[in-house]
Structures are given as C-alpha cells and as structure tokens.
Amino acid sequence: MTAELVRGQNHPLTQTRLEIRVSAGKPVVAGATLSDEQGTVQGAEWVVHPGSPTLPGLEVSKQAAADHRLAVDLGVLPETVHRVSVLLALPVGVGGPVCFGAVAAPFVAVTGLDGSEVASYTITGLDAESAVVALELYRRQGAWKVRAIGQGYAGGLAELLSDQGLTGAAGQLAQAINDAVTQGLARSVAAPPPRTSDETRVRTASPGAGATGAGGSGAQGGPGMAQPPAGSPDAALSAGSVSPMDPRSAASGAQPAPGGGGAPSPGGPVNYTHPRRQTAAPPPPPPTATPAGSGQPVQPVAGDATGWSMEERLYNQVWGMFEDLARTAAAYRSAVDFADSRMEQELDKALSDPRSRIGGTGDAARAAARAKHAQLVDQAREVLDRDIAQLRAEADVVEPALPPAYARWDNPVWHAYRAPTEIPMALRLGDLHLPERTDLRIPMLVRLPLERGLWIDSGRSSSATTSFADSGQLRRLAMDAAVAHAARLIAAYPAGEFTVHVIDAAGSGAGPLAPLVAAGVLDGPPAVGAAGVSGVFAKLTQRVDLVQMAIRSGATDALPPDLDTAQQLLIVNDFPGGFDDRAVTQLRYLADEGPDVGVHLMLVADREDAAAYGPLLDPLWRSLLRLTPVPDDHLADPWVGHAWTYEPPLVPPGSQVLHDVMNQVAAARRPWNR
C-alpha cells in the first residue's frame, strides 16, 4: 500500500534497505546530505553527489538524468547520522531548464528492494527554484521515517547546502558537484535525445488496436484532455445540493486507452508514460498581468491562471472567477445579515427601555442604530463593488478570448468555427449570475466527456419569469435549449466522434430539431412511436453491455468491427411519452451505466408527466444535472452554496450561427462517410 505523501507528511519505514526513485522529466542531479541530531551537515564528506557518489549506506548516480535510483541502506549509516535529505538540482550551464517551474513536477518514490512502493511524493508548487530538498529520511526513537519536504531554493545548490549547515564550503561544493555533472555529460556518448512529449508516444503505441477498440473512450485518451485537478469543483456543481466528486468521473477519465495503457499491442513499443501525467513538455508561460501603477488595480488578462494549455488556463480562470464571485458575495451577505440583526436588537432595546418613552432619547437611539446599520452596509457594498468591478474587468477580457466550446453563441469565434481535431476539456452549459449583480455572468463550464446526463426541465418552476409561459410554450423552449446544447456537443467533438440519437415519440419536437435534421448530423431521423423507442434502446443497451464486457475482460480489440466507437448522446423528448415499463428500465440502465462507456443522456421532460411512477424515478432525476429553458435559480456553487441563476445558452433570435456551424460539422464528416 503506497502512501501518497503531501508536503510535510511523514510515513514510517519498516525496511532499512530501500531504493529512492526519482522521475523529473528533464535531467536533474540527485544527491543526499547526512546530518546529525541537530540537523547540521558536518562537512563536505557528509554529502553524496555525482562527484562523490558513494558513502557507507548510500549511493547516487554519477550523472544528471531524468530518472534516478538512489540506493539506501539505513542500517549501515553511522550512529551519528540522524537525517538523510534527498536533494534534486537542475544542472547549471548545460543549456537545460534553469528553474523547476519550467519542468514537470518531480516525482519521488521510496520503494523496497523488491520494487514495492512504500511512499511517494510529487513535488508541486516549485517555481523559480533550481534546487530542492525532496524528502528526508530521519531517525526517530530507533526507527526510520520518511517525510515529504519539497523545500526549494532559488539560489540553487549553494543556498540549499548552506541552509543545511555547510555555511563555509557550500559554494565550493556546489561548484564541484556541477563540474562533476558537466564532465559526466561530456563523457557520455551523446546528449540524451530530446524527450518527445508523452502524447506522441501514446500515439505510437496505439495504431491497430485504437481504431477498432476505442470503445467510446477513444477520445478520452486524446491529447489535451488533461485529468481534472484534484478537488476540481466541476463535478460538485449540482442541482440544489453539493455532491462530492463522483468517483466514476475519475474512473472514466482514467480508463485505460486500448492499446495504450491497457494491453500493449504485440510488437509495438510499450507505453511507459505516467497514466496521470499527460505531458512532460513545459507549457508556454501564461500571460501575466502587467504591473499597474500604485493604487491602481492590476489590469486583468485572459488566461491568467495555471494550466498546460491556453484552454486549460481559461478553464481554471473561469472557475477562479466563479469562486471569487461566490466568496465576495458571501462576505457581503454575511456583513449585511449581521448589520440587520444588530439593528433589530438595538431597536428592540430602544423600544423596551422605559427612559426612551419620554423625550427624544428613543428617537435618537433608533436613529443611531439605523446610522450604524447604514454605515456597515455601505462599507460592505463598497468592498463588493470594488471586487465586482475587478471581476467585470476580467470577464470583459476573458469572454472574447474563449474558444468555441466555452463561448456564447453570440461570440464571433463561432463564425470562424471549424471542426476541431481533439475534444475540448470542457463545455459551456450556460451562464450563472447572482442577484447582487445580474450583468456579471460567469460561464458555466463542465468537463467533457459529460459525467452526468442532462435534464432539460420543461415543467413549470417556481421562478416568476416562467409564469407567463403556458405549458406548450415551455416545452418548445425546452426543446430549443436541448437542441442548442446538443449542437454545442456535436460541434465540440471532432468530426465523427459524436453520434446523436433522438427519441421523439410524439413527434412534438420536430420544429426545434429541424436544424439538426436538415444538416444531417443526427444518427438517423428522430425515432417516433413505441417501435422507434424500443429500437433505439435495443441498440444503445447492447452497445453499453458490449463495451462494458470488453473493458472488464480487457478485450477491447474483440469488439465487433461495425460498432460505432464515437461518444453517443441520446436525446429523449417528452419523457415518458411513448415509454413502457421496459423502456423506462432501459433508460435507467443507460443513465447509470452509460457515462462510463461514452453513452450520455439528455432528457427533455416535465417531472409531473412521470408522476404516475411515484418515487421510483426519483433516483433518475437526482442523477441528472437539471437545466432549465428559462432563467432559474436552482444551481448551487460548491463552496458556499449560494443559489445561482442559470441561463441557458440559447441561440440569439434570428441568428444563423447554429445552421452554419451544423453545416460545417456535416461538411467535416463527409470524408469519413458518416
């Protein structure tokens, strides 16, 4: 059982003979220092480094390398040694990266001699540092423990060593180490070939198996589809409640890409890439905000967030804005609530004080209470306005910079739409805003592939804006919204990697569906009647079953060749019209099992219509992300739980953008004959 350490965490070591594996992506120097009970390194002879690679109980590599194995035998270390610090440094003067911020986060693992991992640690958060203390092994009451350190030094090895107590000799020793490394490089036959980025290596491994056996997950292993960062809040956004991140989402994202991580095709090169680390190439530096003059807020720029690509940075920036707005609104609301309750108490007190009944003292006390209230509310409003102005300025630069999948339909980027070659990491499902400032709209981005089905609610909601619309109008609006979402999904996926099926049992959705039908981007004409319903379900249920079986048994290349490997979306209009019990059961099967194998659901339904099923369908409704065709405040953010007003991404009235984009998709699909 491996312990994945975080910075500062420790873990007991039961063995004394260990190996420490380092993997850094770029050549680094690995070394170790020994220190006594006080944490001091006694002298240069207590440092193991490429120039002096062995000491009793310790051995390091003589060269800089992207991967290291340090041999450690804690049992033969001198009694006076109480701590072994494992350090990594970037070699100086060899034309490599100069700071750890420019390389992938180094990964360090402590393993037994049999290769079993005891503890591992990924050193994140490094920036300008060029040397880092990765781990320390320390003696504690006769037993050894390992602790994740991750302490970086911008001043390089010299600063690291002097911090360990080698004050006098640190600079000299650092120089000696670096000389040894550069000599080692000169002695080696040739400089190591530049590391190809991991995505190209994945590709070399997949031809053959990938084409037939992608099993709906083919797109997931594609480049640019980074794993969600730990604690990514997107899955927590749910209708009215905050749910923990669905573990299935991780599973679906990390599904072994057939031929890639799962079963290497015979003869093909084995893929050694870290399954969770998608690329080792350093990202281009993010655009940074230009420093503003004193007193002026910093001018925001689009993409001012962390990420491996502009797309990921924009995604993180949008989520950062979302969190900031949630929190600043929480501060404001909390202050106003407090001011209200304080004023109420003070007014009550003034009222109950017998002295206030004579003369003007009561009025004065009430006026004072109101003035205190107004002052605090004004202060809070001032802070809120300042923060919102900053977010507005950020939104003004971010919104025009968004790629199509993140952009509103009225964004000009859609006019230049071309079918993408890889799936985007997220999709905009609409806009979110708070009553404090209704014109500050945050894009609601969810990760692709979808982790939950969508439910476009065609029923009446509590929101006042829907009261005018009669039931038929709402159903029509709901289908319009569903088509707008589906068109986005179709446009976001590369040509031929997204198949849409429609069940429209009563045929009532023909009008809104016309743009999709006309462009020919659906799998077939919308299925009508009971026979149509069962036909579509038979096909999709069989697909889910086959792909699941194939994945479980690791035989993804045994799928029938006519199986459509694209992601599937099933749009059901007016559920449960035209459904029998069998069809309802199949629908629930797809909702539960589909997302993992690339079959997604979009239900256009009024819950009242399914009232006859009683509570039996409640789990189905809960498992879907509820969206409304009209603005409605039913979504909660994952941090504070404010009710956010959701607005669907409708196509502007009279705009041809959806037709144009669908025609582009259809044109891009023709060469594939789909």
Partner: protein
C-alpha cells in the same frame, strides 16, 4: 525580530516601516512526547488541530477548521489537517492563512485555538508552539510557546482584532478542554 509573547501580552501588527500587514499566517507545530516505560519506542500519535473562529461583535460568524478549510468569504484558509505532528524541526504542522485585507468588514476579531482531537493532554506534547508570521516576507512576528503542558486538551492561543485602521494580536494562552472548537466556545467568549 521575533517577539516571544507571554500570556495576555498584546502587540500591534504594524510593520517596522509603519505599513500595515496584509496577510498573516498562524502556524502551529508540535511533537508527540515520548512515553517512559517498557515500550518507550511506541509513540502514540497525537492529533492537534488548529482552528480560527471569526467574530463580529462577539457573535461567531464563521469558523475555519479541518472540516471547513476555507471561510465562506475566502479570506481565511487552513492548509490542511495534520494528524501526527512534526518531528521537532520547528516547522509549522498546521497553518491558517489570513488575508487581513479581505476579511469582511463586519469581522472584528479572530480567535485561534488548538485542540487535541485524539484526547491526549498537553502533558504528552512537546515543543508545541503557535506563531504569527507575516506571510508576505516570511518574517516571524510573534511566537507563543505552549509552556508547561498541563492536564488539559485545548488551548485558546491568541486573538487578532481590529484596532483603529490596523490589527492587533493578543496572546491568550488559556487552557480549556474539548475535542473541537465548539467545545471551547464558553471559554472563548470571556476573551472577546
């Protein structure tokens, strides 16, 4: 410059150059005390927890602790729960970061507490300290050592409160008993 504070001592959180602090970190570090006896190597792990309670005019408004790591307004952040303490290196085992500029306007006091979640008393803890660091430059402003180590399971460490336009810190160091900050509320209120 580090001020070693004693109980009840107040220091103003003005910088040496007269500017006010913008971000401070309350760090908590400790070590499990070795047990004497036959099985001396069997150290029991001790889980201390740092918490910060935000008050507006003596009313608790929000709390930051291991189950609520970020205050709703985002100005106070706990770096995460440490279940076993440190190894005597003097580093912070748990830390709470406070962005003084972003604290909501009605918050006028913050109280920092330490609880022993696993129930051991401070007699079994060594080298426990609480310190206040200027997060912008890493300078230690104040350090309060959990001296003695009595038979109690919690301590109300310090409070940071508004004073004029800036902030002030007062060391409290009051012993109390409780598993989480909720148990300490009666002991905190007299100090506000």
């Amino acid at each position: 410059m580090t001020v070693n504070m004693t109980k009840g001592q107040a220091i103003s959180l003005q910088k040496n150059d007269g500017g006010t602090l913008t971000a401070v970190r309350m760090g908590l570090g400790w070590q499990a005390a070795p047990r004497r006896g036959l099985f001396g190597t069997r150290t029991r792990e001790i889980d201390l927890d740092a918490s910060a309670v935000l008050f507006a005019d003596k009313q608790p408004v929000d709390v930051v602790f291991f189950r609520h790591l970020v205050s709703d307004d985002g100005s106070v952040r706990h770096t995460g729960d440490n279940l076993v303490g440190g190894v005597g290196q003097g580093g912070d085992d748990e830390a709470i970061l406070v962005d003084l500029q972003r604290l909501p306007v009605h918050i006028d006091q913050l109280v920092f507490t330490v609880n022993s979640f696993t129930g051991q008393t401070f007699q079994e803890v060594q080298n426990a300290f609480c310190r206040l660091v200027d997060e912008t430059n890493g300078q230690e402003l104040a350090r309060y050592t959990l001296d003695g180590g009595g038979a109690y399971t919690a301590q109300i460490m310090a409070k940071v409160h508004r004073a004029g336009s800036g902030w002030q810190m007062t060391a409290l160091g009051t012993a109390a008993n409780g598993r989480t900050f909720q148990d300490l509320m009666p002991s905190i209120l007299p100090h506000l």
